[in-house]
């Protein structure tokens, strides 16, 4: 008779920034099941939006998740524009693209840093976050804030960018290429990382379809889905870029996808800065007619999906927000089972879960005595020790 143990992770743990409660059911060192409890971060935004006007909602959805604070408003706005049949001016589309790609750069660099930290590579953490700073500066210069941009509105964008601002964004993203290459080579060449990340937490393409996984989590399993290409919005169909995929579905593939996507983002931003047309930045929108609309946007973590229904008044009747992590976190059920405990931290991190989006805690307890065995910090420590062992051997 095997001895099943429950490992609780959370709700408050130091390294992922948010509260979420995972329970790992382990048999010895091997994970046999995973369970997640949400609610720690549930704020009731969907109800709140029903009491706001169409123009106020973007400021609320921006705060669904701080990291995707350009994608969520854009998805909402596209849904409303679909209801009102608005034609957005060209220049606004390019401006939206620039801010969204800068957001992707900062989010992917953030993830590379955190993943390095989970594996005990604190140098990677420090470097990645150091190189992320110029991106944050560019965003601050262009939108007025490091993280909440408030640049989109129904019909266009709120603020134009001057030639100087655009030049600065261009320079910042161009200068990012050398450090990105260094980070990518460091990851691709390191034998310890290969040993730690390859064939760990494998997510098959079948599981991707069943769980509806999106973004780098799906693309790391060789499923080439990307809203930017499949259902083009903003200016993505006017620039030249590639959808990055990696075939194996393991943590390594997901890391590779994210790193290579950074290069694509740099490419997109530079083309947008080069090609941006002059002209209006917003279209006049009078009333939002009755109807329903769907808006989806490729956020750094995957497709963020918004549904809006209007009854012709100035407030939405229903606004549904579905963030990418909501679909990606349940894939742990497919990818974590059979893993050893030290590999769990990085597998959980590999989908870049965003709990504010999803809302949620993680700790390991003994099923019979209900005593905590590990907390997330200890899981990370176990993970770091395993890297250390591999490095020495």
């Amino acid at each position: 008779m095997s001895h099943r143990t429950v490992v609780n992770i959370g709700p408050f743990h130091p390294l992922q920034e948010e509260a979420e409660f995972f329970q790992l059911y382990v048999d010895g060192e091997t994970v046999v099941d995973v369970d997640v409890r949400l609610s720690y971060n549930h704020r009731g935004i969907e109800k709140l939006d029903e009491s706001k006007t169409f123009d106020q909602v973007p400021f609320v959805v921006e705060r669904v998740c701080g990291i995707c604070s350009a994608s969520h408003p854009l998805a909402y706005i596209q849904a409303v524009e679909e209801i009102a049949r608005v034609r957005v001016p060209e220049r606004a589309l390019y401006l939206r693209t620039i801010v969204n790609e800068l957001e992707r750069l900062h989010s992917h660099l953030l993830w590379v840093g955190l993943a390095g930290h989970f594996l005990g590579y604190n140098t990677v953490f420090m470097w990645a976050w150091k190189y992320r700073e110029p991106v944050m500066d560019a965003l601050e210069v262009a939108t007025g804030s490091r993280v909440n941009y408030a640049n989109c509105k129904v019909g266009g964008v709120r603020r134009d960018m001057t030639a100087e601002q655009l030049r600065m964004i261009d320079r910042a993203s161009d200068e990012l290429r050398a450090p990105l290459e260094m980070l990518t080579n460091a990851v691709l060449d390191d034998p310890v990382l290969h040993a730690r990340l390859k064939k760990v937490g494998v997510l098959t393409p079948e599981a991707v379809k069943l769980y509806g996984a999106v973004g780098p989590t799906a693309r790391g399993s060789g499923v080439p889905i990307d809203v930017r290409r499949d259902d083009p919005y903003a200016a993505y169909d006017r620039v030249d870029w590639q959808v990055i995929t990696a075939p194996h579905g393991d943590v390594f593939s997901k890391a590779v996808v994210r790193l290579l996507e950074c290069f694509e983002s740099v490419k997109i931003i530079r083309q947008c800065v080069r090609d941006i047309p002059r002209g209006e930045i917003d279209a006049k929108v009078e009333d939002i007619p009755p109807g329903e609309g769907v808006g989806h946007v490729e956020a750094p973590r995957g497709e963020t999906f918004h549904y809006v229904r209007s009854d012709g008044s100035n407030r939405p009747v229903r606004h549904k927000v579905r963030a990418p992590s909501y679909n990606n976190i349940p894939t742990f059920k497919a990818s974590c089972i059979g893993l050893e405990i030290p590999d769990v931290a990085i597998t959980l991190a590999s989908v870049d879960p965003c709990y504010s989006c999803t809302e949620r805690m993680c700790r390991a307890v003994d099923a019979e005595t209900r005593k905590p065995l590990y907390n997330f910090a200890e899981l990370v420590r176990l993970s770091q020790q395993k890297t250390e062992r591999l490095r020495k051997s």
Binding site: R37, L48, V214, D230, F305, Y326, P372
Partner: protein, 179 residues
């Protein structure tokens, strides 16, 4: 039924038309059929069969589902995304009052597991044969039977009483007690 239904007969064209057509007589009405967007109303007793058919189509995935309270009950909207060609087909099923119950599609489409639990929490939609109907998004002290996304719930006036203050440094329920 919503008050602003578009023309009764929407021609079924293009990729979205083919998808809706493949569902056969499970479709009650087509409300929108455009190049990349489609909305169709399906028979509420056939959600599982429809979900299995949709999942079997190439490139499909369940993006999410939305619940909306309407006059006759709660409308459950399944949003199916297709890549390629990047279309979103929304299938509406109405869970009528007073039971407000539908058959769960989570056994066929695991992606629907969480969202059905969430709709059960927030709107009080019952899902028959759901594999794991525990509370997901509302907190432990939230009373049963209070559904915040229902229209009669006022988000300020109808808030239930807060959980008691913590006096000992130990929260019951977190120590492996989710079940």
């Amino acid at each position: 039924m919503t008050d602003w239904d578009r023309q009764p007969e929407t021609p079924l064209l293009g990729f979205v038309g083919e998808v809706i057509e493949s569902l056969g007589d499970a479709v009650e009405a087509v409300e929108q059929c455009e190049a990349r967007r489609g909305i169709a109303r399906i028979r509420p007793d056939r959600t599982v069969e429809v979900a299995a058919k949709m999942l079997a189509l190439a490139g499909s995935r369940l993006a999410t589902a939305t619940g909306i309270e309407v006059r006759d009950g709660v409308e459950v909207l399944y949003h199916w995304a297709f890549e390629p060609p990047g279309a979103v087909v929304t299938l509406k099923a109405l869970a009528v009052r007073p039971e407000v119950v539908l058959e769960s599609v989570a056994n066929v489409v695991p992606a629907a597991n969480w969202i059905e639990r969430e709709m059960h929490d927030l709107l009080g939609v019952g899902f028959r044969n759901h594999p794991d109907m525990r509370r997901l998004v509302l907190d432990d002290s939230w009373p049963e039977g209070v559904h915040p996304l229902r229209k009669e719930f006022d988000q300020v006036l109808d808030r239930p009483p807060l959980p008691p203050n913590q006096t000992s440094p130990d929260v019951p329920g977190d120590r492996g007690g989710a079940e």
